[in-house]
Symmetry: C2
Subunit: 328 residues, 2 copies
């Protein structure tokens, strides 16, 4: 009997140390890279309120879903969005194989890095790009090359590999939400087949929690084995009003927490859709106002920042709210 | 100090009881409603092998994804698929409001319960049905009524509410996989907006792990609030070759475990796609061969059962492999 009691005590003490460790972690500042501003306080207040068992605004775990845009929200989108790195590599390869492709305006613009011309090419242009890049490749062939390339390509502005060019304050926010029972999802305008290849490595978000612009695929056979092959079409363009339907298809519910950024008008629709859910919610719009430490850009008509004020979204000033941008 | 030691012992003993309880659960037969046949043994052997840390076929948690068809696989699909209950209720309501709708062949066939005529109406017929039922309703309006109706409607054959008309051996399999680190998903031909409304209650699977036939939605405003409204189109018909693209869009990977059933040819494509993954996998095809306790039906050309033999899928004979069908 004494031996059994002794065994319990051994178990007990290791458990006690585990508890002490947990308490220590819980006491540390979960948002250490954020300055002590109203924005940081608002995030902490919201999470504290909705996780307070028995509190008036308590939200059960299964409703704690947070959705974030990626480019410009979790990672920098300047000078170019991360997805452009592998897409450009693939596109160059495709043009070498089939030079006539370079006659397509969007492809020419893309290869020249001519953003204006690329924008002018519009959705048809995007279709040409995706069709060229995915042309008759299997989903698995497409994905393989992405992560290795992102690990070995340095970001022009921050001089770290793209896989480490992520906003430190936002990765802290993701961990903080995760520790408080939230499921974190990405809803990006970038192709989902790209974002999935890097989401775990860059942000700790598993592929099945990534939404994005999707290309059509069809079941085919290669050497008697089934494969999914891209059919060259864009199945869904995941931007602006296109985001809420994607989130609804993936989740079947409105997210309670949404993060987006100004600069491309892309995230206001999903933020409004979250704001209009029944019960509490929180929307965070990142303002790129720090030319010195990151980038300074905004929409000519100030659309997103005006919408944030109108609908009551919280605005994150990179300049004032973030102590650190990218971990060195 | 003695007090602290005492505290550790208290913690320790409760922990020890927890451990004993866990061991007890682990020892109980996780598939009690299955007869001790080769099929049951094959399932247990597969799960044991791929969860054996350091073993030659060990599969990490993040790859342990199981995907199941719903109608005929997890729940009965005769005399009518569960989704027909709310769809019929909605359709009758729509026809009362707009009698001319009854002139559409598919709607007439549906209301008469004329399966052959419904089948003849084909995809256009399905479009007419979905368009009529979803016509300008919001996603939330549509979902609300489903679960209450399914809780109060009795299944014709099993005389329990539809929400309890689920295969007991399959719910045991879901729990067994869940206990072994699998994520269970549904990939059904039924409308995803229906399946999601019942998946947690019927099968313990959360809405975000449900895939199905999807209808187009667009963002709209009602009384100044954003809502998603059905646009009357079918976005994706989730059957046969349509299933692997849906799974790939949701998961970005091939599932390691797939369950389906013969009777409608619907699941062979996703089972083959799973079988052709790199590494171990397991496919289960349910054969409805028990006229006495459930239903007996098969495809005229025996397509699914032949495919199971050809590609090495396991066949579950309801008659021989299942001790119990539905919990009374």
């Amino acid at each position: 009997m004494w031996l059994r009691t002794f065994a319990y005590c051994r178990l007990g003490s290791s458990l006690a140390f585990a508890l002490i460790a947990t308490i220590a972690v819980a006491r540390a500042d979960p948002l250490a890279s954020w300055n002590d501003t109203a924005t940081k306080q608002a995030i902490i207040d919201f999470v504290t309120t909705i996780t307070q068992q028995g509190g008036p605004e308590f939200v059960p775990d299964d409703e704690r879903v947070a959705v974030f845009d990626m480019d410009g929200t979790l990672i920098p989108e300047k000078p170019i969005p991360a997805a452009v790195i592998p897409l450009a590599a693939d596109l160059k390869e495709a043009v070498v194989k089939k030079p006539i492709l370079a006659d397509k305006p969007a492809i020419a613009a893309f290869l020249k890095g001519d953003e204006a011309a690329l924008y002018d090419a519009g959705e048809q242009g995007l279709n040409d790009l995706i069709a060229t890049i995915t042309d008759s490749r299997t989903t698995e062939e497409f994905s393989e090359s992405i992560l290795p390339l992102m690990k070995t390509t340095a970001h022009d502005r921050f001089h770290v590999p793209y896989t480490r060019a992520v906003y430190k304050p936002m990765t802290e926010l993701l961990s903080y939400l995760d520790d408080n029972g939230f499921e974190n999802w990405i809803c990006s305008g970038s192709p989902v087949l790209f974002t999935r290849a890097v989401s775990m490595e860059m942000l700790g978000i598993p592929p099945e929690r990534v939404m994005g612009t999707s290309s059509g695929t069809k079941l085919d056979e290669r050497d008697g084995k089934t494969v999914l092959v891209f059919d060259g079409t864009i199945d869904h363009l995941n931007d602006q009003e296109g985001k809420p339907p994607t989130i609804n298809l993936a989740l079947g519910a409105r997210p309670i927490f949404v993060g987006g950024n100004e600069g491309g008008r892309g995230d206001i629709a999903m933020m409004r859709w979250s704001k209009d859910r029944t019960g509490p919610s929180f929307q965070l719009l990142i303002n790129h106002d720090d030319a010195e430490r990151e980038f300074e850009y905004s929409e000519p008509d100030n659309y997103s920042l005006d919408a944030a004020k109108k609908y009551g979204f919280y605005i994150v000033s990179i300049k004032n709210d973030w102590k650190e941008i990218i971990a060195p």
